[in-house]
C-alpha cells in the first residue's frame, strides 16, 4: 500500500503524517458539510430504500396474515426470525467492542473507526430487534414483555431467559445509543461552527446543546465517557451470553451446553468485525480516507477476526467432543444428523466459510490486500449466518421422538424480511455517513503530535 510505514514498528501508522488540527477537522467535516452528494451515494441509498420498502411490504402482509406466511411450524418454530435476530445482534457487538473495550485498553487505533462502528451497532440492533417482535405472532402487543402495572394483573416470568433477553437487548440498545450520542456532542459543536447554511447550523447547534469545549466540561465529559465504556464492556459480553441462554437453558440436544455463552460472544465479535471491514473498505476508498483508516486498522480488524474465528472453531470442536464424551444417544445423533442429515450441505458450507477460508488471514499478504479482506469478510458474514441457521434448525427439526420430526424451508416472505433488513441497515448507514461525521473528529485531533503538551510544561 501507499501508506508510509511507521519507522519503529514497521507497521502502517494509525494516522498518516502531515495532518494538523485544521486538516483533520476540515477533511471530516467537509464530507458532511460541503461535499456534493455523489451519484454512487444516491444509487446505494436508493437500493437500500427500495429494500426497506420490501421489508415494509413483508411486515404489512405479516401483520394481516400472521406468522403462518413464514416457513415456521412445529417442530421448527423458531426459523429465520431467530436466525436473523442472533446474526444481527452479533454484528452489533464489534461496534461496542471497538468503542468501549479498546478505549479501556488504550488502543488509539480505534479513534478513526469507532464512530461508524457504533452507528453500525445501533442499526444492527434495530434490525435484530424487529425479528423477535414480529415473531411474537401479535407484535402490536409487544409491550406485554415489559413489567408494567396492567389490568390483567399478570407479570412477566423473571425466571425465563426470554424475559432476560428483553432486558439485555433493550439495555444494550439504550446504552449503545447514549455512548454514540455522547461521543458525537463535541463533533456536533464543530459542525455547528463550520456550517454555512442556517438550517445546518441550527440543526447541529440544537444537537450540540451549546457545547463549547470548556476545560471544566471536558473533565466531566471524559469521566462520563470512560465510565460509559466501563459499563458497556460487561454489557456487551452479557448481551450475547443472554442470547445464548435462550438456547442453553433448554434441554434440546445441541443447545443444552455450557460452551454456548463464550462461543456465542466470540462468534458475535467475529461477524461484527467482518461487517466493520465490509463497511470500512468502501468508505475508505470512496471518501479517500486511506490516510485516516489506514492498513493498520484493516490488519488489526483481520487479526481480531482470526482470533475470534479460532474460538468459534474450538466451539465446534467441543460440540463434537462432548457429543462423544457424554455418550448420550440424542447428542450423538444430533451431531451425526448435522454432518450427514438433510441439512448437511449447509453444515459443510459453514465449515468452509467460517473455519477454512478465514485461515487465509494468517498470511500477511492477504491481510494487506484490501480486495481479499473484503472477500473474506463477506464469506465470514455468510458463514456466521449459516452457523445460526444450523444451530436453530438442525437442533429442532429432529428431536427425541421420530414421529415428531420435520423439515424447515423458508418461504419467500422469510427471504423478503431478511433481505429487507439488510436494505434498512444499508439505508441507515448511507444516511449516517451523509449527515453525521463518520470519524470522530475530536478523538482524531488527540492522535496528532501537536496535541501533546510539551515536556517542559508538564
Amino acid at each position: 500500500m501507499s501508506n508510509p510505514q511507521d519507522t519503529r514498528t514497521g507497521k502502517a501508522p494509525v494516522l498518516a503524517p502531515g495532518h494538523t488540527f485544521a486538516t483533520v477537522t476540515d477533511k471530516i467535516s467537509a464530507i458532511v458539510l460541503s461535499r456534493r452528494t455523489t451519484l454512487g451515494w444516491v444509487v446505494g441509498f436508493g437500493v437500500g430504500l427500495l429494500l426497506t420498502m420490501l421489508l415494509l411490504a413483508a411486515v404489512s402482509y405479516l401483520l394481516v396474515k400472521g406468522v403462518g406466511i413464514w416457513g415456521i411450524d412445529i417442530p421448527v418454530a423458531w426459523g429465520f426470525a431467530i436466525v436473523n435476530f442472533v446474526w444481527w445482534i452479533g454484528i452489533g457487538h464489534a461496534g461496542t467492542l471497538i468503542s468501549a473495550i479498546l478505549l479501556l485498553l488504550n488502543q488509539p487505533w480505534r479513534n478513526s473507526i469507532n464512530r461508524f462502528a457504533e452507528a453500525m451497532t445501533l442499526f444492527a440492533v434495530m434490525c435484530a430487534g424487529m425479528f423477535p417482535l414480529l415473531h411474537l405472532g401479535r407484535p402490536w402487543l409487544f409491550y406485554w414483555l415489559f413489567p408494567y402495572p396492567n389490568t390483567m394483573q399478570v407479570w412477566p416470568q423473571f425466571r425465563s431467559p426470554l424475559v432476560w433477553d428483553v432486558f439485555a437487548v433493550s439495555t444494550y440498545f439504550t446504552v449503545s445509543f447514549l455512548f454514540w450520542f455522547v461521543g458525537l456532542i463535541p463533533d456536533l459543536g464543530t459542525l455547528r461552527d463550520r456550517a454555512h447554511s442556517r438550517l445546518a447550523r441550527g440543526a447541529y447547534g440544537f444537537l450540540a446543546m451549546g457545547w463549547r469545549g470548556s476545560a471544566r466540561h471536558w473533565k466531566n465529559y471524559e469521566s462520563a465517557y470512560l465510565l460509559l465504556a466501563g459499563l458497556a464492556t460487561p454489557l456487551v459480553v452479557s448481551v450475547h451470553t443472554v442470547v445464548s441462554f435462550d438456547f442453553a437453558i433448554s434441554i434440546v440436544p445441541g443447545w443444552h451446553t455450557t460452551i454456548f455463552p463464550p462461543y456465542f460472544v466470540a462468534g458475535a465479535i467475529y461477524s461484527g468485525f467482518a461487517m466493520v471491514l465490509v463497511i470500512a473498505i468502501p468508505i475508505r476508498k470512496f471518501y479517500s480516507l486511506g490516510d485516516m483508516i489506514t492498513m493498520r486498522h484493516l490488519e488489526n480488524c483481520a487479526k481480531i477476526m482470526l482470533v475470534t474465528g479460532l474460538i468459534v472453531a474450538y466451539g465446534y470442536l467441543m460440540e463434537h467432543f462432548m457429543a462423544w464424551y457424554r455418550s448420550d444417544e440424542f447428542d450423538a445423533f444430533m451431531v451425526h444428523n448435522r454432518m450427514h442429515g438433510p441439512y448437511a450441505p449447509l453444515y459443510w458450507a459453514l465449515i468452509v466459510t467460517n473455519i477454512l477460508v478465514p485461515q487465509a488471514l494468517w498470511s500477511r499478504r492477504v491481510r494487506q490486500n484490501v480486495g481479499a479482506l473484503f472477500g473474506v469478510s463477506i464469506i465470514v458474514l455468510i458463514g456466521m449466518w449459516l452457523e445460526r441457521f444450523i444451530i436453530v434448525v438442525t437442533s429442532l427439526h429432529r428431536d427425541f421422538l421420530t414421529s415428531s420430526w420435520g423439515m424447515y424451508y423458508p418461504t419467500k416472505w422469510d427471504w423478503f424480511t431478511f433481505v429487507g433488513t439488510i436494505g434498512f441497515f444499508a439505508m441507515a448507514m448511507y444516511l449516517f455517513i451523509r449527515f453525521l461525521p463518520m470519524i470522530s473528529i475530536f478523538e482524531m485531533r488527540t492522535l496528532l503530535p501537536e496535541a501533546e503538551v510539551e515536556a517542559e510544561a508538564k
Binding site: T20, F167, S214, L231
Partner: protein
C-alpha cells in the same frame, strides 16, 4: 452584586502547551473565575484552572446502585409477593434467576446517570453563552485554544487584566460582551 458591563476578556492561543502555561499563570495570579476552551480534552488544563475532581463517578455509582437494587426489588416484589407462582415447591425468591435482569438494570441505571449527570453538571443544554459572541471563538472547535477570565472575578480589572493577558503572548485578546 451588580452585573459587570462585559462578560470577560478572552485570549487566543495556537497550541495546547501555550494554553496550559497561560492557564497556570492566570491561576497563580489569583484569578479563579476563568475557563479554558480547547477543541479536544487536555487533562492538565482542567487541573491548572483548579478543577481537580469530577463528580461524575459518584453520580454513576448512585445510578448503578439505584438501578441494581431497584431491579432486584422489582423482581422480588413481582415474583415472590404480588404474583407468586409455585413451581414444584421451588423458592419464590429464586435469586440466581434474577441475576441477569439485576445486572442489566445496574448498567442501565449507571449509563443513564452518567450521561444525564454529565450534562447536568456541565449545565447543558445551554443554547446561549456569551463566549460565542467572540467571532474568533468558532475556531475553539477546530484548532485554536482560548482562555477567558470573567469580569465577575474579584481580581478582574478591565485594564489590568488585559495587560496581564497580553503578557502571556497570545495571538489576540478580545472583549467578550454579554
Amino acid at each position: 452584586m451588580k452585573r459587570p458591563p462585559i462578560f470577560g476578556l478572552m485570549a487566543e492561543f495556537e497550541s495546547p502547551t501555550e494554553l496550559l502555561l497561560a492557564s497556570r499563570k492566570a491561576y497563580a495570579e489569583g484569578y479563579r473565575r476563568l475557563d479554558a476552551y480547547s477543541p479536544f480534552p487536555i487533562e492538565e488544563v482542567g487541573e491548572a484552572i483548579g478543577h481537580h475532581h469530577s463528580r461524575v463517578p459518584l453520580v454513576v455509582l448512585v445510578g448503578g446502585l439505584l438501578g441494581g437494587i431497584g431491579g432486584y426489588l422489582m423482581q422480588y416484589w413481582i415474583s415472590a409477593l404480588n404474583y407468586p407462582i409455585n413451581v414444584g415447591g421451588r423458592p419464590l425468591n429464586s435469586w440466581p434467576a434474577f441475576i441477569v435482569v439485576t445486572f442489566e438494570m445496574t448498567i442501565l441505571g449507571g449509563a443513564l446517570f452518567a450521561v444525564f449527570g454529565m450534562l447536568a453538571l456541565n449545565r447543558l443544554p445551554m443554547p446561549y453563552h456569551p463566549v460565542f459572541n467572540v467571532e474568533r471563538f468558532a475556531f475553539a472547535s477546530k484548532d485554536r485554544f482560548f482562555l477567558c477570565i470573567q469580569a465577575n472575578d474579584p481580581r478582574f480589572d478591565r485594564a489590568q487584566t488585559e495587560k496581564f493577558l497580553q503578557s502571556l503572548n497570545p495571538k489576540q485578546v478580545s472583549e467578550v460582551p454579554h
